[in-house]
C-alpha cells in the first residue's frame, strides 16, 4: 500500500517537475538588449524574438537599455530572477567592458549565466584609403615604414582590444585612435585619416564589398570559410590574435542547468529558421553550436584575456 502510495507520489512529483520545465516559459519573456533601437544587436534580437514567440507561445518583449558599453543593460539583467523569464542578448562587449569598467556593479563570473552562443564570426582587419597593401603581410611591412593609426569604435570596444592585441602580437609601430562608433571609424578610414579598423564581418563587409575598404586579414589561424579570398593572420605568421567575435544569450547567475539547456535548444531552433539563416548569410556569420558549458568556457577565457591585456597595455588609464 505504502509502496503504491510512494510510487504515485514520486510519479506525480516528477511529473510536476517535468511539467514545470515543459511549461517554460510560464509567462512573457523579456529580452534585454543593452544597445539602442536599430543597432546591429537590436536588429538581430527582434526577428529572433518573433521566432521565439512561435516556439514558446508567449509574448517575447525586447527592452532596450543602452548605456555604458552595454553594462547598464547587463547589470539590470543580473538583478532579475534566474527563472529564465529575463534574458540578455549581448556581443563580446560583455567580456571587454568589465576589463576597463571601474565600479562594476555585478560579478561577471557568478552573476551571469552564459546560455547560448548565437552568432560567431571572426574579426576582420580592414584598411582605409591610405593603406596600399592588399594583404596582412604587406600591411605589416608597410607599417614598419609608415607607422599606422588603428581606429576603434571607442575605448573598451572589442575592436579596441583586438587592435591592441594585434599591435602586441605583430609588434606593430601603431597608435590606437578612438572614434565614436563603427560608422565614424569607417568614415575616417575612407577619408584616409585613419588606417585600419577591426570589427566583426557584419560591420565591415558591406564596405569591403562596395570597394570602400580593403579586407586585409581575418584574425584567425586559417582562412574563414565564408570569406575564402581574405588571407588569415595565421598565414602571415601572426599568432595570438585568434579570438572570434560573437553574439550570445545570457541569464542571471544561478540558473538551473536543465533550464539553461532547454533555452539553448530553443534558441538554436530559432536561429535555424529561414529568417535568421538569411540574416546570417548577409552578414557572413555562422550560427554557434556550443553547449552552454562549452560557451561558458569561452566567456570566462575571453574575460581573462581582456583583463590581462588591459593590465599589460595600460588600457583604461
Amino acid at each position: 500500500m505504502r509502496t503504491i502510495f510512494g510510487a504515485t507520489l514520486a510519479a506525480t512529483l516528477s511529473a510536476t517537475v517535468a511539467f514545470a520545465q515543459d511549461s517554460f516559459p510560464s509567462g512573457p519573456v523579456t529580452i534585454i538588449v543593452p544597445y539602442g533601437t536599430g543597432g546591429s544587436t537590436d536588429t538581430t534580437a527582434r526577428p529572433l524574438a518573433i521566432e521565439l514567440e512561435e516556439i514558446w507561445g508567449q509574448p517575447v518583449i525586447i527592452e532596450n537599455k543602452p548605456g555604458a558599453g552595454s553594462m547598464i543593460g547587463t547589470t539590470e539583467m543580473t538583478q532579475a530572477e534566474p527563472d529564465g523569464h529575463t534574458l540578455l542578448i549581448n556581443t563580446a562587449a560583455i567580456s571587454t567592458a568589465p576589463a576597463i569598467q571601474s565600479d562594476l556593479q555585478y560579478d561577471p563570473e557568478t552573476d551571469v549565466t552564459p546560455i547560448s552562443l548565437l552568432i560567431t564570426s571572426p574579426y576582420v582587419l580592414v584598411g582605409g584609403a591610405k593603406v596600399e597593401s592588399t594583404d596582412f603581410a604587406g600591411f605589416i611591412e608597410e607599417a614598419q615604414e609608415r607607422p599606422m593609426f588603428m581606429a576603434t569604435a571607442g575605448p573598451g570596444s572589442s575592436g579596441h582590444f583586438m587592435s591592441e592585441l594585434v599591435i602586441e602580437a605583430a609588434d606593430l609601430p601603431a597608435d590606437v585612435i578612438h572614434f565614436s562608433g563603427g560608422g565614424e571609424s569607417m568614415t575616417n578610414l575612407m577619408g584616409g585619416h585613419a588606417d585600419t579598423y577591426i570589427s566583426t564581418t557584419a560591420s565591415v563587409m558591406p564596405y569591403v564589398n562596395d570597394g570602400r575598404a580593403k579586407a586585409l586579414a581575418v584574425l584567425a589561424p586559417e582562412r574563414f570559410e565564408l570569406l575564402p579570398d581574405v588571407p588569415s593572420s595565421g598565414e602571415a605568421g601572426v599568432t595570438g590574435v585568434d579570438i572570434n567575435g560573437w553574439v550570445a544569450v545570457f541569464g542571471p547567475g544561478g540558473m538551473d542547468p536543465a533550464l539553461v539547456e532547454q533555452i539553448n535548444d530553443d534558441f538554436a531552433t530559432a536561429m535555424a529558421s529561414e529568417r535568421m539563416t538569411e540574416q546570417l548569410e548577409q552578414n557572413f556569420a555562422v550560427a554557434g553550436d556550443l553547449s552552454p558549458a562549452e560557451f561558458r568556457e569561452i566567456y570566462l577565457r575571453d574575460l581573462n584575456t581582456w583583463e590581462d591585456l588591459a593590465a599589460t597595455r595600460g588600457i583604461g588609464q
Partner: protein, 508 residues
C-alpha cells in the same frame, strides 16, 4: 536631363497609395509628437521602429522620415507658445519666438515658422537631390582637425547669442562645457564625475537636460507668479496670423542664410541639427545692424534657426544614405530600419536602388508640402491652447516632460536629471544667467575636446601640424578674426562709454 528622369522615377514610387498613406501618417504623427514638450523625434521613432518590420522598406523609410522632419515642424510650436522646447533643436526658437508670443504675435510667429520650415526643408531637398554624391565625397575629407576647427568657430561665433552681459554669456558657455565632461571620456574610457553611478556613465542626455533647464525651469518661474494675460482670442483670427510686409522683408535673407548654414552643417556626418540652429542664430545676430533686437521678438531670430533646422534635417540624409554614417541617433535608427530590410546604404545605393533613393526624396517634397498644408490651419488651434488657464496646463506639461525623459532609454534616472536641471534652470533665471549659451557649450564642448585630442593623436602631438592643414587652418584663422573683432568691439564700446561719462552732457 537625368535629374528630371530621376524625379519622374521617384514620383512614380512616392505617389503610390501605400507610400502616400505612410507619408501622411508619418508627418501627421510627427507634428503632434513634436508639439509635446519632452517627446522628441528620437523618442517617437524609437517607439514606432518595431512597426517597420512589417512594412516594405520604402514605405517604412518614408514614414520614419516623415516623423523625423515632421517633429521639427511641431517642435517650434511649444517653444513659441510656452517657452518650452518641443525638441532640443527648438530651444533656440524660444529666444525670439516666445517674446513674439508675449507681444500678441503668436500667430505670426507660428505662421512664419511653418513657412520657414517649408523653405528650409525645400532648400535642403534641392541640395540633397543635386549634390548628394559630391557632398558625401567632400565630407570624407573632413578629418578630426577640420571638425575641431569648425567646432571652435561655432563656439566663438555663437558665444554671444544671449543678450546678457558678455561675461555671463561666456561663463554659461564654459559652465555648459564643464557639465558635458560628466560621463565617460570618449578618448580614454575613464568615467569623469560619475561617482560610481552607472547611469551617469553616459553623461547627461541632452534631451533631459534641455527639458529640465528650459522646461521645468520655465514652469518653476511661471508658477506662483502673477501672469499677464498672454493673448486674447482675437489673435487666433486668421488676419492676425498673417505677417506684415515688414516681417516678410526682414525674413527672406535670414531664411536663405539659415537654409545654407543648415544644409552645410547637416550634411557633415556626425553633426546634428542642433549645431546648425545655434550657428544660424549667431550669424544672424552678428550680421544684423540691430543686434539688440534679438531676444526681444526679432523675426530674423525666428526664421534663421527654423530654416536651418529643417534644411539640416534633410541634408542629414546625405551621409546616412550615401555613406552609411548616421549624423545623429535618429539617423542611426533610419539606418537600422534600412538594414533590417537588407538594404546597405553606401555609395552604390543611388545606383543600385534608384527607386528607393529618389522615391524617398520625392516623398520629402510631398511630406513638406503636406506639413505646410496641415500646419497652417492648426495654428489657430495651437494659439487657442494658450487660452487654457496655466494652472491646468503646467501639470500636463510636467507629465509629458517626465515621460519624454524616461522614454529615451527607459531609465528613471533621466527623470531625476530633468528635476536636477530644473533646479539649475530656475536658479539661473533668478540670477539672470542665460540658458541658451549653456546648451551651446554643452553641445559643442565635448566635440571640441574630442576632435582636438584626436587631431593630436594623428599629428603625433604636433600642434603646428594641425593648424597648417588647409581647411582647418583657414577656419581657425576665421575664428581668431571673429574673436579679435568681438574683443575690439567690446573695448571700443567700453571706452566710448567712459568718454561719454567724462564729458559733460550736452542735453541731446
Amino acid at each position: 536631363m537625368e535629374l528630371l528622369a530621376n524625379f519622374a522615377l521617384g514620383l512614380e514610387t512616392a505617389v503610390t497609395p501605400t507610400n502616400l498613406f505612410f507619408c501622411f501618417a508619418g508627418v501627421f504623427l510627427g507634428t503632434f509628437v513634436g508639439v509635446i514638450p519632452g517627446v522628441g523625434p528620437l523618442a517617437a521613432i524609437s517607439m514606432l521602429f518595431p512597426i517597420t518590420f512589417y512594412l516594405e522598406p520604402t514605405a517604412a523609410l518614408i514614414m520614419l522620415a516623415g516623423i523625423y522632419y515632421g517633429t521639427t515642424y511641431g517642435g517650434s510650436t511649444a517653444s513659441i507658445l510656452l517657452n518650452i522646447p518641443g525638441a532640443t533643436s527648438s530651444a533656440v526658437t524660444c529666444l525670439d519666438g516666445y517674446p513674439m508670443a508675449k507681444q500678441g504675435r503668436a500667430g505670426v510667429a507660428l505662421f512664419m515658422t511653418t513657412i520657414a520650415s517649408f523653405v528650409g526643408g525645400s532648400f535642403g531637398i534641392i541640395i540633397l537631390s543635386l549634390f548628394s554624391p559630391l557632398i558625401a565625397e567632400y565630407a570624407l575629407t573632413f578629418g578630426p582637425a577640420e571638425y575641431f576647427s569648425l567646432m571652435v568657430l561655432g563656439l566663438i561665433a555663437a558665444s554671444t547669442i544671449a543678450n546678457a552681459s558678455p561675461s555671463k554669456g561666456l561663463a554659461m558657455v564654459v559652465f555648459g562645457m564643464l557639465i558635458a565632461t560628466v560621463g565617460t571620456d570618449s578618448q580614454s574610457g575613464v568615467g569623469r564625475f560619475t561617482f560610481g553611478s552607472m547611469s551617469l556613465l553616459e553623461g547627461f542626455g541632452i534631451s533631459a537636460m534641455a527639458m529640465g533647464l528650459f522646461g521645468v525651469g520655465e514652469i518653476l518661474s511661471s508658477v506662483g507668479a502673477t501672469r499677464d494675460a498672454k493673448i486674447d482670442s482675437s489673435s487666433a483670427k486668421l488676419l492676425n496670423m498673417l505677417p506684415t510686409k515688414d516681417d516678410w522683408r526682414r525674413s527672406w535673407a535670414p531664411g536663405l542664410r539659415g537654409s545654407s548654414i543648415g544644409s552645410f552643417i547637416g550634411a557633415l556626418p556626425g553633426t546634428g541639427p542642433s549645431i546648425a540652429v545655434f550657428m544660424a542664430y549667431a550669424v544672424e545676430k552678428r550680421i544684423s545692424k540691430t543686434p539688440e533686437r534679438f531676444g526681444t521678438g526679432a523675426i530674423e531670430g525666428l526664421v534663421a534657426p527654423e530654416t536651418a533646422n529643417n534644411a539640416a534635417d534633410q541634408t542629414a540624409f546625405i551621409p546616412t544614405l550615401t555613406l552609411g554614417i548616421p549624423g545623429s541617433a535618429t539617423m542611426a535608427l533610419m539606418l537600422g530600419a534600412l538594414m533590417i530590410h537588407g538594404i546597405q546604404p553606401g555609395p552604390t545605393l543611388i545606383v543600385e536602388q534608384p527607386s528607393l533613393f529618389w522615391g524617398l526624396i520625392m516623398s520629402f517634397w510631398i511630406g513638406n508640402l503636406l506639413l505646410l498644408v496641415l500646419n497652417l490651419p492648426l495654428i489657430g488651434l495651437w494659439v487657442r491652447l494658450l487660452l487654457i488657464p496655466y494652472h491646468y496646463l503646467y501639470p500636463a506639461i510636467l507629465v509629458f516632460l517626465c515621460i519624454g525623459a524616461y522614454s529615451v532609454r527607459a531609465n528613471p534616472a533621466d527623470v531625476l536629471i530633468v528635476l536636477g536641471f530644473g533646479f539649475v534652470g530656475y536658479a539661473m533665471r533668478l540670477a539672470d544667467l542665460p540658458a541658451a549659451p549653456l546648451l551651446l557649450g554643452f553641445v559643442l564642448g565635448p566635440l571640441v575636446e574630442m576632435q582636438f585630442r584626436r587631431s593630436m593623436v594623428l599629428a603625433r602631438g604636433d600642434v603646428i601640424d594641425v593648424i597648417s592643414r588647409p581647411i582647418a587652418g583657414t577656419v581657425l584663422a576665421i575664428s581668431l578674426a571673429i574673436l579679435v573683432w568681438t574683443l575690439v568691439g567690446a573695448i571700443v564700446r567700453y571706452c566710448h562709454g567712459r568718454k561719454d561719462l567724462n564729458e559733460p552732457s550736452t542735453g541731446k
